[in-house]
Point group: C2
Chain length 481, copies 2
């Protein structure tokens, strides 16, 4: 179980007064305080950890968000911002003495400018909702987390979310132009906008991926892109995971940047095929999904070059999708991978490390060895093109020993990522899950400088304070005074 | 003339002692303190402003940089970091009581990893030096400031430099993987590395473009890319600058992203042609340089589509380079544009605003009107594809009135950029030049939050303190105590 800071007793004692004050700031049905209705907010996509919050507020306007933050700041109340709650690192895990501020009612599309190719939306608009709003005109929003039907753009900004197509288009940070940002003092600041770059510091950058610790975002301006003329996916199946890893390295090393380059090992192929019936090769040890886009001629040329490279690695099969339906089926399997693994093992931990792509064969071999050592099955599915691993460690939540082994296995994988020159997290964030592993990646002085940045925004450490950093060493004590 | 903070009298009084201490930290010929040898350091690429520093230090190692910063921190001595001194916004302008720390002796290539496509170099390596080190193996480093023969990668990081080819490849921030960072306290921190993304805050992001105000960078890890199979440039000449602006908007709006899309108006075409003899169309009011890359077939297809779009705007001429030599000549003219304008007007101010590309026709028209109003010629040359303007305002430095009009003209252009939804600076930074214009872009609360970030890194405001922010309002008084 994860350690949570002790709640502040003086805040718990003032619960009724705080709820009444929140009702005054967000009238109508915008405040949730009864136990039954609070229950759904006790956890997020990292369902292993649970904690019911003091209250939940669902503001409809930036002004309401500002008023609630200002109240919390003046009264020393902790705040946990929440989008759709799809965080896989426990980024939206509540605290017993914290007010959760949920963005789901701020879901309006505010402006679409096709000429200058940007959209301004409220932070509670879903990721797919942006593309839906512009696809009729031939545009799309590029980052595509697997949870894109549910996850909200405000959460994407706070976790700097990625997705399968980020190999070509970059992650949220690369597609973000500006935000309306509310400080813990309740001041509203416009950062960035519909133009290139920004004067002054890159604070749009530091807010992106700040995991709700520096302030809240209520409106987001994103770059929208022209939809490609067309896209086609291909499957390449191999006899070994290390061979497939070497093929990835060869494709990327050749200078081709496919729009996506995804990797699945045998357990994952089987789980996904049972779910999606996409014609995945069940005899393969590993499979790549490679997608290219552009005109028909460009697609043909790129696919021919990729097939030629794959052919050097003695593939079991190379299969190019022959229709839009086939491409969709291929992607349905991949995008449903987490759910598909959930069908064979109800409980799993999804890791999110990154490594240099040349380390893929080595790291996959080591993960296989750890799987035997910890006696836990692992399914590997990940964004291979940019070295972003997602090993899914299967365990039984009813068996505490199995859960502890899964946690230790996960920590070992992430330490291995750092050891080979990679990083603790690619796109899921640190949250509570990797909080204590930050010391593997950073020295005390490095963590301290990052904490100073938080203090510069939030001197009392009220915003999502139990995330990102180990609890020990915070400049403001997180245990009860 | 630009206001400089008053020097601290107690530091000026201790000059000999400080120089002796620096000599002990950086032995040999690493400290410059005599007036003649200090003279070359009194200014940078923004030659309009000059100030001889207290001393110049030229360390050879990260440890020496750390030792000098630690000494300055303990003794309250201001520091101005310097790369090649090519800043166009006065980012390296010294202060009378400051020690300039120059990076030019830290110029070693430390590691090249072709398999994982990164290079680790010392901060004083020139921008072109990185490409030179890898081009034999078919790789290159993408951002290409016009000053790339001289400017250093450490300076590129601090100013988040761009260049003509950033339309496709992004600016420094998009090609940077990690830095070795030295704090004002003299602590050495590794940030980022040869992997995707980073755990914790995006402080690699906030350091990129921080203009020497948060710390110094001594080593840089950059992404290197496979060189394209080939590239070809074309020229498109038009009867009016607004027509050319509309053509840019149509090309970008079509979804094509050329590798570069550059704009020159008539005064600039004439100045560059006289210098480069590239066959520029002297009868045109405006000209675009459009470059595409890829296989021969890809180049042919993209050029055909671009020609078809340009043809809708009644062009005077459309000319595709037929050889590598012709492409080089076309680029020689563009990359030498600032120097070429310098041949017709010894003194000019180069502005650096960005605007949404749909505003190009409108903004170019307004700049033309201002040129008449201020009675100063202006040459427009800029990265049109990403809306990054570089109007060159010509004036006579021997005529103070002409200089003041040039400053006012420049400020009006940048205010216009902000007014139409753009930004004060695209790639040159704020420096001293745009310091006082930051209030046009940001409200006091927004500036204050950025200042808090600086204070979190540099509590005494010793690092390049007279840049980026208006002098009034700094949390640490910048005038003499």
């Amino acid at each position: 179980m994860i350690a949570q800071p002790a709640p502040k007793p003086e805040i718990l004692a003032r619960r009724e007064e705080i709820v009444a004050a929140l009702h005054a700031l967000v009238p109508g049905d915008g405040v949730i305080s009864d136990a039954t209705r609070l229950k759904p907010y006790e956890t997020d996509g990292l369902a292993a950890y649970r904690q019911v919050p003091l209250a939940v507020v669902l503001p409809r306007t930036t002004e309401q968000v500002a008023a609630v933050l200002r109240y919390c700041h003046c009264n020393g109340v902790r705040v946990v911002p929440r989008g759709a709650g799809t965080s896989l690192s426990g980024g939206a895990l509540p605290m017993a003495d914290a007010v959760v501020i949920g963005l789901m009612r701020m879901n309006r599309i505010l402006e679409i400018d096709l000429e200058d190719r940007f959209a301004v939306v409220e932070a509670g608009v879903t990721n797919i909702g942006i593309t839906k709003a512009v696809e009729g005109d031939g545009f799309f929003y590029a980052p595509d987390p697997s949870s894109q039907l549910a996850c909200m753009i405000g959460g994407n900004v706070m976790m700097n979310s990625g997705g399968a197509h980020c190999l070509k288009y970059g992650v949220t940070a690369n597609n973000l132009l500006g935000v309306k940002f509310v400080t813990i003092e309740g001041e509203v600041i416009d950062i960035g906008g519909a133009h290139l770059d920004a004067a002054g510091y890159d604070w749009l950058g530091i807010i992106t991926g700040s995991e709700g610790q520096l302030g809240m975002v209520t409106e987001v301006t994103v770059r929208i892109l022209r939809s490609p003329e067309g896209a086609r996916a291909m499957l390449a199946a191999f006899n070994g995971i290390e061979i497939a890893g070497a093929a990835v390295d060869a494709i990327i090393g050749s200078g081709i940047i496919p729009v996506a380059l995804e990797f699945m090992d045998k357990p994952c192929i089987h789980a996904c095929e049972a779910f999606a019936h996409a014609g995945y090769p069940l005899d393969a040890e590993a499979m790549l999904i490679i997608e290219v886009e552009g005109s028909e001629a460009e697609q043909d040329e790129l696919l021919a070059r990729i097939k030629e490279i794959c052919a050097r690695f003695d593939p079991i099969s190379l299969k190019v999708a022959e229709s839009a339906e086939q491409s969709l089926a291929i992607w349905k399997g991949r995008k449903g991978a987490f759910g598909a693994v959930g069908r064979i093992s109800p409980d799993y931990l999804c890791m999110d490390g990154t490594i240099p792509t040349s380390q893929l064969p080595n790291v996959l071999k080591r993960i296989g060895e750890m799987s035997e050592q910890y006696r836990l099955a692992v399914a590997n599915v990940f964004h291979a093109g940019d070295g972003n691993l997602h090993p899914l460690i299967m365990f039984d939540a009813n068996d505490p020993d199995s859960f502890h082994r899964a946690e230790a296995f996960g920590a070992d994988i992430l330490k291995l990522c750092v050891e080979v020159g990679g990083c603790l997290t690619g796109e899921h964030g640190v949250g509570v899950e990797k909080r204590d592993l930050m010391t593997v990646q950073f020295r005390p002085r490095e963590l301290d400088q990052q904490r100073r940045i938080k203090t510069a925004f939030d001197p009392q450490w009220l915003l999502n304070p139990s995330k990102v950093f180990p609890l020990e060493g915070a400049p403001v004590p997180l245990a009860a005074e």
